[in-house]
Amino acid sequence: MPRRVKAQVVVIGGGPAGMASALAAFENGARPVFLLERGEYLGGILNQCIHPGFGLHLFGEELTGPEYAERFKEKLSRTQVEVLLNTTVLEITPQRIVRAVNPQGVWEFETTRAVLSMGCRERTRGMLRLPGTRPAGIFTAGLAQYLVNIEGLLPGKEVLILGSGDIGLIMARRLTLEGATVKAVVEVRDSLSGLLRNYVQCLHDFNIPLWLSHTVTTIQGKERVEGVVVSRVDEGGRAIPGSERVVPCDTLLLSVGLIPENELSRQASIPLCPRTGGPVINEYFACEREGFFACGNVVGVFDLVDYVTLVSQGVGEAVNIPTAFSPAKYHLVPGDGVSLVIPQKIQEGKKGFLFLRSLQSFRQAAVSFSFQGKEFHKLRVPLCYPSEMIRLNIQDIPWPSQGGEIRIGITGERIRGIY
């Protein structure tokens, strides 16, 4: 028989989002609060991100991932938030029954509020449909990071990295420091995906080349990777015949994007947004199903953990707000030049943050808000990169008096190259 427990709040996932929302819910008077974590430790991916750069917005200092996580672990240990480690959630029903299993047995939580904070996972070779053989030596960048930083294992000696996102850049430096040779970082787009700071400190510092407008077209090797074929791509991202070159290496790292992890959300019949891959939410981060909230990378991939903490603290407060699930007035839609808009729904436009991600790098950019085809608000942004979300205060935007669909676009002068 499962242990049956009644809860006011059950938080699923003990990474930065889960820790901050459980903590804030408890501080706002919710009792009891359960935090369920699949792994042996709280902190999630922060534990393997041993490099500095976290917490600048929130704490005004540059922390490493583990240090950032420790601050929240410590705070949690001083509360009565019930943290269950080694606990895997198997199922969430639309009626908010959360079924989980851990070494103590099977649990069944009946909860008033469920907070989804399962984070995201990495895109894999299969999703890229990368042709070639299937040897050992192909890793996602995050897996390589886990092997190096947590297990103390080096995944390979001669490495090629596909994708210039921040995790790929960080791993180029990390592997170089540990004695591997990083042959190059290959990026299919014509501009850097990660932060300029990471390009300078992770590639430029170690003379690692960055090949823009290139991609991996074949993997070679039978038992182990022996090399990869790299080709130049045209404007449409298609490989140009005749431009192939073979790069000998024993390891290929993939840093090609993250996908919100929403298997459980689907089970609970929570409406998902095709654009973000995460639940459709409003300014309270409330889902379109009574009693469910979502925060952090399960909603859409954030670039700064500080932002994840910020929105998750908001969720912790919102669990006590009865109107959090009231119908929305505005529906936000990404227009030209915009890849991501969070939240997708807005009730009143009086609180919370609006996060935007541009599709490309722009100089002299303008963010434009339009309603029924007419622009009602424009905001100038000197520089705008896909690697850095634009964060706006929802209350600063002069929302139209009538509700409906709001289209948000970004235009500007395209930046090609590294900066």
């Binding site: 190096v148 297990e151 510092d205």
Partner: protein, 134 residues
């Protein structure tokens, strides 16, 4: 963009603009030719003695985890980073360790640059070991 360490060009990372700042080196030292005040300060440091916060892991004995993540308390001279990493590979500490603990002072003789633990790691609990064996 492909400048070596000896170059007098610096990609500024103080803000996201990414200006290329140029320095001139003569007998009186380095002068930066362009850029905003913050950028000039950054470029000056980059050309005089570039330093970085170094993070890595070291071995930890009798711990629930295999590696202890560590950092330098202050930026460490860039040219000596490989030497520092080699040295840190020889180190090992005994669990438990608390986050923020200074493990070693004045790393490789660099004044004020200490080695700091960035995670709390408990001692390996014997009970869990038996639990795993069963």
């Amino acid at each position: 963009m492909k400048e070596s360490a000896e170059s007098t060009k610096v990609i500024c990372i103080v803000c996201p603009k990414g200006c290329i700042l140029e320095g001139r080196r003569d007998e009186r030292g380095v002068t930066i030719q362009n850029g905003c005040p913050r950028g000039q300060e950054y470029a000056y440091r980059e050309l005089q003695n570039p330093c970085r916060i170094v993070t890595t892991t070291i071995a930890v004995r009798n711990a629930a985890l295999k590696r202890l993540p560590v950092r330098t308390s202050l930026p460490f001279p860039k040219r000596r980073i490989p030497e520092l990493i080699d040295f840190l590979h020889t180190l090992s500490v005994e669990a438990p360790v608390r986050v923020g603990t200074v493990l070693m002072e004045n790393l490789l003789g660099e004044p004020g640059v200490h080695l700091v633990a960035t995670r709390t790691i408990e001692r390996k609990s014997p009970s869990r070991e038996t639990e795993r064996q069963t």
